[in-house]
Amino acid sequence: MAGTLDHAVRGRHRRIPWDDVSRYAALVVLALITLAPIFVMFATSFKELVDIQARVPRWIFMPTLTNYETIITQYRFLPYLISSAVIGFGATGLTLLTAGMAAFALARMRFPGRGLIAHTTLIIRMIPPAVLAVTVIGFWIAWGIGDIIPGIRFTLPGGLGRGNFLDGSQVGLMLFYTALNLPFSIWLLFGFIRQIPVELEEAAIVDGANLLQVLFRVIFPLMGAGFAVSAIFTFRIAWNEFILALMLTNRFTKTLPVFAAEFIRDDGVQWGQMMAVGTLIVIPPMLITFFAAKQIIQGVSAGAVKG
């Protein structure tokens, strides 16, 4: 039906050849506005200090890896990268598992309290990280919660820094990022499970499978698309979040956004090094965007269009 309309509209506009031209012109201008700031960051990260401080912005310059070398050899970039990755993947895995199980129960089972749990997740989904940081941090420090799990200390060869796998501060951040994403993920996956025919599960149960087997062997394998959307959005929060990470991490477990902000100092901003860290922070999300733009748009509109 939409096709018929398209033909009608297209037929009408054939006579005006400028139509598509102006459309493309608008798209190109928009693309430039969108990309220019990101491009400036990329370019600056490859500039020497003299090029950065030149009065006239230099669009042509001798690219250098000095800034990247500095952040890796003179700062703890690598340990913080590992910390960011551990927290990002940990939170994503935890979210998929817990949200998948919860969505299964809400979609397929009847039990007292089901409506209450459903409504609570929907109402508390907007609590901002700043509120969590403020109300948690006092007890966190007073009770030494961050120290409860000791963490596995590692040292990188070549003096490239020391870091921590999984101490209390990282587990805590995973917990908060999972909690922040759970309501969205539960409802997203709920929609996906509802589309799977119940007969598949009933057949599995007749064949002697228990509910856990039904979930992990029948449902989860069919949920690739839902898991992809949910994983992208969880990873995005965990990888990008700043306020909670700033308050809860220690000098061994900082995430990359916290590290990037440290280049703003009282004696000025180290633009080159900061832009190098910024560039490395945005590369994974930009790669994800290139390969999964469709899933991202689906996730963005899930709350709005499907409801």
Partner: protein, 303 residues
């Protein structure tokens, strides 16, 4: 599905435990702490019960209400501009052209980038001394002196109260307009083709189609996009924290930044929790309104 009556709770337990520890305990802490005087770094035994003093202080605190006003000013401009530009672009670019997927991928980029990095980029672009924006404004102003009075000169973007507000608005519009654009575009493409065709056959022109057919049918989606943006405005903190830190003076100190600074600059966790309750209350009200338009439970008869 017939199961043992404890089974559903076992499946829900992990999610509920994480939600309880990660969201409900902090909310409970906020309520508890708002009745106490407790400074950041002190042991809990040093906390002093205050009764409702923190709430009275909140009610009479010009700093807090000024930052609520700042949030509204920031939010008004940001949401208005993003809705107008986002809806306008979606209507103009609704028709699928060759390469639309490529452009859409580009427009998604700003949404995926860390807010900290967005703040750092814009702080660099708008830097008074080395900033690219100032350089080109100056060049244009020198080439066409008549434009100098219109602002085409070197400006202290982040050092002037009004310009600092303009700056954070610009960065937010840059990052979030694509969000409105994509939601509205998805909505437009989901409109029933037969209705559009009927309107077209009845002789409706582009303007009438848009104003009398498409936008009214999109009412819910537009409201949802609007509410989601309003909610995000109240949550926003990171970009402003990096770009201006609330300054100069308190000209860009939004409510969530006041909350953060009360807790970690003034180290006053009790009072900060009271502000956190105010912010949570505002957000919960908007969430409930949003639920009226976009509720996954609404069309499900069994809830």
């Amino acid at each position: 599905m017939r199961t043992n009556r404890f089974v559903p709770y076992l499946f829900l337990l992990p999610a509920v435990a994480v939600l309880a520890l990660g969201l409900l305990v902090p909310l409970y802490n906020a309520v508890l702490l708002s009745f106490y005087d407790w400074n950041f770094g002190q042991p809990w035994s040093a906390a002093r019960y205050l009764g409702t003093a923190n709430f009275e202080r909140l009610w009479n605190d010009p700093t807090v209400w000024r930052s609520v006003r700042t949030t509204f000013v920031f939010g008004f401009w940001v949401v208005t501009l993003e809705m107008l530009i986002g809806v306008g672009l979606a209507l103009l670019l609704e028709k699928a052209v060759r390469g639309a997927t490529f452009f859409r991928t580009l427009f998604v980029m700003p949404l995926m980038i860390a807010p900290v990095v967005v703040g750092l980029i814009w702080r660099y672009l708008l830097d008074a001394r080395n900033g690219i924006v100032n350089y080109y404004l100056l060049q244009i102003g020198e080439a066409v002196p008549a434009l100098q009075n219109l602002g085409f000169k070197s400006q202290a973007w982040l050092g002037d109260p009004t310009l600092a507000m303009v700056s954070i608005i610009v960065s937010d519009v840059w990052q979030w307009t694509p969000f409105v654009f994509m939601i509205v575009l998805a909505g437009l493409q989901g409109l029933p083709g037969d209705v559009m065709e009927a309107a077209y056959i009845d002789g409706a022109n582009w303007w009438r189609m848009t104003w009398h057919v498409k936008l009214p049918m999109m009412r819910n989606i537009l409201l949802i996009a609007l509410l989601m943006r309003i909610i995000d405005v109240f949550r926003a903190l990171e970009v402003i924290f990096i770009m201006t830190g609330g300054g100069p003076g308190s000209s860009t100190r939004v409510l969530s930044l006041t909350l953060f600074q009360t807790a970690f600059t003034s180290r006053d966790l009790g009072y900060a929790s009271t502000i956190a309750l105010l912010l949570s209350l505002i957000l919960i009200v908007f969430s409930v309104v949003l639920l009226a338009f976009s509720n996954p439970l609404k069309d499900k008869a069994d809830f």
